[in-house]
């Protein structure tokens, strides 16, 4: 018995300690970023001011007044929202078709979709830039960013929806057929209400990915359609002299999505772990 209780005490202390250490290590950069955003650029580079400094909002006021934060933020909202909507508009019917009317090719199609994620983005940087700039003339437009964000997230959206739809018993869809609903009715009246948790977490994850995307939004925009990623990129100085300013911009870019994630945490965790119909 003694051995057992010792073990419990040990694990009661040891494992939480490990968990907290890991959490703190992961959280530290974010903590450091938020902290730094309240320092002046001069204080930010001085190690002795790591914890003790006079906080200032200068970086934030500066950001909204001089760097047009809101325009970048609005661009981020527009592109992420529409990209997510389009990804669902295409993804829901695609996943529905593959989940309930699978053919021999379904598995291969799914793998092929996933394989597009294996392509290094840099490999198509030149054709993308050239075509959109010189040929299609859509460089630095909302349209381009929405299309690109939608396309790069579509495989994951379809995969996730497919898994959720798969969990819905086929008989329920068949009962719908017997009751005389058409395909659109099946999706609207049966599938979406049943897989609502899954659809919501898919949408949320897609939105987060769109918001955080940096490779293409930085390279395919200049001013018009530039998102918050571009704003951060623009404030990055190789000499590292503007850490305060950079941290403020980064905090303001990360902030909305963290808040959104916080509010939807329950939904997200449930959707990602339990599946749709339980």
């Amino acid at each position: 018995m003694a051995v057992v209780s010792q073990n419990t005490t040990f694990s009661k202390v040891f494992w939480p300690a490990v968990a907290w250490s890991v959490a703190i290590i992961f959280f530290f950069p974010i903590f450091w970023m938020v902290f730094t955003s309240f320092k002046t650029d001069a204080d930010a580079v001085k190690p002795e001011f790591l914890f003790f400094f006079t906080p200032t909002l200068e970086n934030y006021t500066n950001m909204t007044e001089n760097y047009d934060y809101w325009r970048f933020a609005i661009n981020s909202v527009i592109t992420a929202t529409f990209a997510t909507i389009f990804a669902l508009v295409v993804g829901v019917p695609a996943a529905y078709a593959m989940a309930f009317n699978p053919s021999r090719a379904t598995k291969d199609v799914l793998m092929w979709m996933l394989s597009t994620k294996m392509l290094p983005a840099a490999a198509v940087l030149y054709p993308m830039t050239f075509l959109t700039k010189n040929f299609l003339d859509i460089y630095d437009t909302h349209f381009l960013i929405i299309v690109v964000l939608c396309l790069i997230n579509l495989p994951i959206v379809i995969w996730m929806l497919f898994t959720y739809f798969k969990e819905i018993p086929k008989e329920i869809i068949e009962a719908g057929k017997m009751d005389g609903v058409d395909t659109w009715g099946e999706i609207k009246d049966i599938l979406i209400p049943l897989a609502w948790g899954g659809v919501a977490s898919t949408a949320l994850l897609c939105f987060i990915f769109c918001w955080n995307e940096a490779y293409w939004t930085v390279r395919l925009t200049t001013t018009e359609a530039a998102t918050l990623s571009k704003l951060i990129e623009g404030n990055r100085a190789p000499e590292g002299l503007f850490f305060g300013r950079l941290s403020a911009v980064s905090t303001a870019a990360v902030g909305p999505i963290v808040v959104l994630g916080w509010f939807c945490q329950k939904q997200l965790v449930q959707g990602l772990t339990f599946g749709a119909v339980k």
């Binding site: 018993p169 008989e171 329920i172 068949e174 009962a175 719908g176 057929k177 017997m178 009751d179 005389g180 609903v181 009715g185 009246d189 049966i190 209400p193 049943l194 119909v277």
Partner: protein, 350 residues
């Protein structure tokens, strides 16, 4: 209301053929049960009638209308699924009303039909609940109710009782029988349980490997099974089979007395005797004998498990057998009209 005609229906999945030309006539108002082991094609056949499975060849007609290309909801059929397949996000009321809403039935008509069906099935109190809040038996009633409100020509039941516990199964079986009596419409019912088949059916269709083995009234199948498969499938406990030896005196299965006089059978003879038709007797008049191995007491009767000399086993059903001991030899005969003879090779009845 309508009868149903199935002509030369086949089903293939790619290269694999699973239904091999099924012909069936189902009369208006008949209660037909498809029975067979799993994988025999009974559910597939039902789903083809429902329109949930494409028909690879042949023709299915409901009434006078060929329905091969007709959408499921336009065939005048309603289906009760094994898993109930209720819409989990809708109330019981809406589950039943959903199909009627699809065909734009007036609201008061929907309300009338749903309440009437709920009354028949005693689920009036649950109309506002969701399926989640119901027991298995109640869910099954809702599933049946969803079929009733559509006032179909043909009801299709796909193993509707297999998810219920034994007590509820018996009760629901009775209710389905009553429902058939009351509505008088054609019902097709799929099950692997021969007791359900025997008790419910006007007509039983025994299927094996995508072929119809025999069609007939329950007692016809029980009394004159056309082949070994039907004989072994219908009846509980299952029929005993004995490989027979033949000489000029008759057909013997190990006892002193011949089962019957010599018959002609190319592939040899197999004798079938149902456990309930075995009669204890003297050694001199016995068809078959065995050493008592085990007795199962079932209250009103007992099942004797016996082992023959060649260590094959058989079962006898007795009302009561006064203190017989384990290992004791017992002798049995059977009435002449209770003896079933089959060709061992072709498995057909002689």
């Amino acid at each position: 209301m309508a009868g149903l005609t199935i002509r030369g229906v086949t089903k293939s999945y790619g290269e694999t053929q699973v239904m091999h030309g099924v012909d069936l006539d189902i009369e208006d108002g008949e209660f037909v049960v498809y029975v067979g082991p799993s994988g025999c094609g009974k559910s597939t056949l039902l789903r083809m009638i429902a329109g949930l499975e494409e028909i690879s060849g042949g023709e299915i007609s409901i009434g006078d209308r060929v329905v091969n290309e007709v959408a499921p909801s336009k065939r005048g059929v309603a289906m009760v699924f094994q898993t109930y397949a209720l819409y989990p996000h809708m109330s019981v009321y809406n589950n039943m009303a959903f199909g009627l809403k699809q065909i734009k039935t007036p609201k008061d008509e929907i309300d009338r039909r749903v309440r009437e069906a709920a009354k028949i099935l005693h689920i009036e109190e649950y109309l506002e609940r969701t399926p989640r809040a119901l027991s298995g038996g109640q869910r099954q009633r809702v599933a049946i109710g969803r079929a009733i409100v559509r006032e179909p020509d043909v009801f299709l039941f796909d193993e509707p009782l297999s998810n219920l516990d034994a007590a509820l199964r018996g009760q629901t079986r009775l209710e389905i029988a009553r429902l058939h009596e009351r509505l008088g419409v054609t019902m097709i019912y799929v099950t692997h349980d021969q007791v359900e088949a025997m008790t419910l059916a006007d007509k039983i269709v025994v299927l094996r490997d995508g072929r119809v083995e025999q069609v007939g009234r329950p007692m016809d199948l029980y009394n004159t099974p056309q082949n070994l498969f039907v004989a072994s499938f219908i009846g509980s406990p299952a029929m005993n089979f004995f490989k027979a030896e033949m000489n000029k005196d008759g057909v013997f299965i190990g006892g002193k007395a011949p089962v019957t006089k010599a018959v002609e059978a190319a592939g040899g003879v197999t004798v079938g005797l149902r456990p309930e038709h075995l009669i204890p007797c003297e050694e001199s008049e016995a068809f078959v004998s065995g050493k008592l191995e085990l007795v199962e007491q079932l209250g009103d009767h007992e099942l004797l498990h016996l082992v023959r000399e060649d260590s094959s086993e058989f079962v006898a059903k007795m009302e009561f057998l006064a203190d017989k001991k384990r290992g004791e030899a017992l002798y049995f005969k059977a009435a002449e009209d209770r003896i079933h003879l089959f060709d061992s090779k072709s498995e057909q009845r002689l």
